[in-house]
């Protein structure tokens, strides 16, 4: 069942080695090409050459086993689910991890760098349709979020909505960095004041008996 209705380049006649080499030229980490994988690799090469995203070949089914639960990001880039309320909690924890690493990065780059799989986790971002223009202008940036995997091109599974959703959420809900630093500074000052005003260690005024005599 061919996935696309439009005329596509046909790679079914080239040899496995040629197909493999062409994919490697695009930076794809190519596994064995056999009957099970050939079709997928051919599709991948077509996508790379045309830069297009093919539609789904079968009827999408919203059939899943059970309810979705919120997934928190871990340092090793776990995927998160994407309920509208969970995005906010995710965004806040995302910001925390960002600020602890490097506060100099912008929101967009930090979103991009910290968790590539995060942007995958917003496939239901179609709900977030009211993007502001400046956020929309950033939509091209997270396109390379899949680079750690194997291929360079950017527009494979992405919709530009995914990236901006993360940035949009972080913008809406974010506490500015300077405000956080001010809060930390206030806490430090308070601790310092407490320390300064602490009572010295208790002094024992009871005189010692030098000569203890047995009675």
């Amino acid at each position: 069942m061919p996935p696309t209705g439009q005329p596509t380049i046909d790679f079914s006649n080239i040899s496995d080695e040629d197909l493999s080499q062409m994919l490697k030229d695009y930076g794809v980490s190519v596994g064995p090409i056999n009957a099970a994988t050939r079709k997928t690799y051919e599709r991948r090469l077509v996508q790379l050459k045309t830069g297009k995203l093919p539609p789904s070949s079968q009827t999408p089914v919203d059939d899943d086993d059970e309810e979705v639960q919120v997934r928190q990001p871990e340092p090793q880039r776990r995927q998160t689910s994407n309920l509208s309320d969970s995005t906010q909690s995710y965004a806040s924890s995302l910001r925390d991890s960002n600020y602890s690493s490097s506060s100099s990065k912008s929101y967009v780059s930090s979103v991009r760098d910290s968790d590539f799989s995060a942007s995958r986790s917003f496939p239901y971002s179609e709900r977030h349709t009211d993007l502001s223009p400046d956020v929309r202008s950033r939509s091209s940036l997270p396109a390379d979020r899949r680079t750690p995997s194997s291929y360079a091109p950017s527009s494979l599974y992405s919709t530009p909505v995914k990236g901006p959703t993360a940035t949009k959420v972080s913008k809406e809900k974010g506490i500015p960095l300077w405000l956080k630093l001010v809060a930390v500074a206030i806490v430090v000052i308070l601790i310092y004041l407490i320390y300064i005003n602490m009572e010295p260690a208790a002094v024992n005024n009871i005189p010692e008996i030098q000569n203890k005599m047995e009675v």
Binding site: G31, A36, V61, D62, D63, D65, S117, S149, Y157
Partner: protein, 90 residues
């Protein structure tokens, strides 16, 4: 600690053995049937495909979408499930 579905946790907690493909996270009854119809009846057959793609997310999810029409969330769930299983048992 990351919060994942019960199905995911059940799958990654032990060797998959002869578990059917519907035990994979993201694969429900409808998707499972489509896979079974194409002879991917056991979870390890999908694992085999996953490994053939050298655990590449894009290739595997593309394949999964082509085989059974999984949407991006289901693809991601299945990929993550297999990835974690491999991290523990492979």
């Amino acid at each position: 600690m990351s919060t994942t579905s019960k199905k995911h946790r059940n799958f990654v907690s032990e060797p998959m053995g002869e578990k059917p493909v519907t035990e994979l996270a993201g694969i429900g009854d409808v998707l499972g049937k489509r896979l079974i119809d194409q002879n991917y009846d056991k979870a390890y057959t999908v694992l085999g495909q996953f490994l053939l793609f050298k655990k590449d997310e894009g290739l595997f999810t593309d394949w999964l979408n082509d085989k059974c029409g999984a949407n991006s969330k289901q693809q991601g769930d299945c990929y993550q499930c297999l990835k974690e299983w491999c991290d523990s048992f492979l």
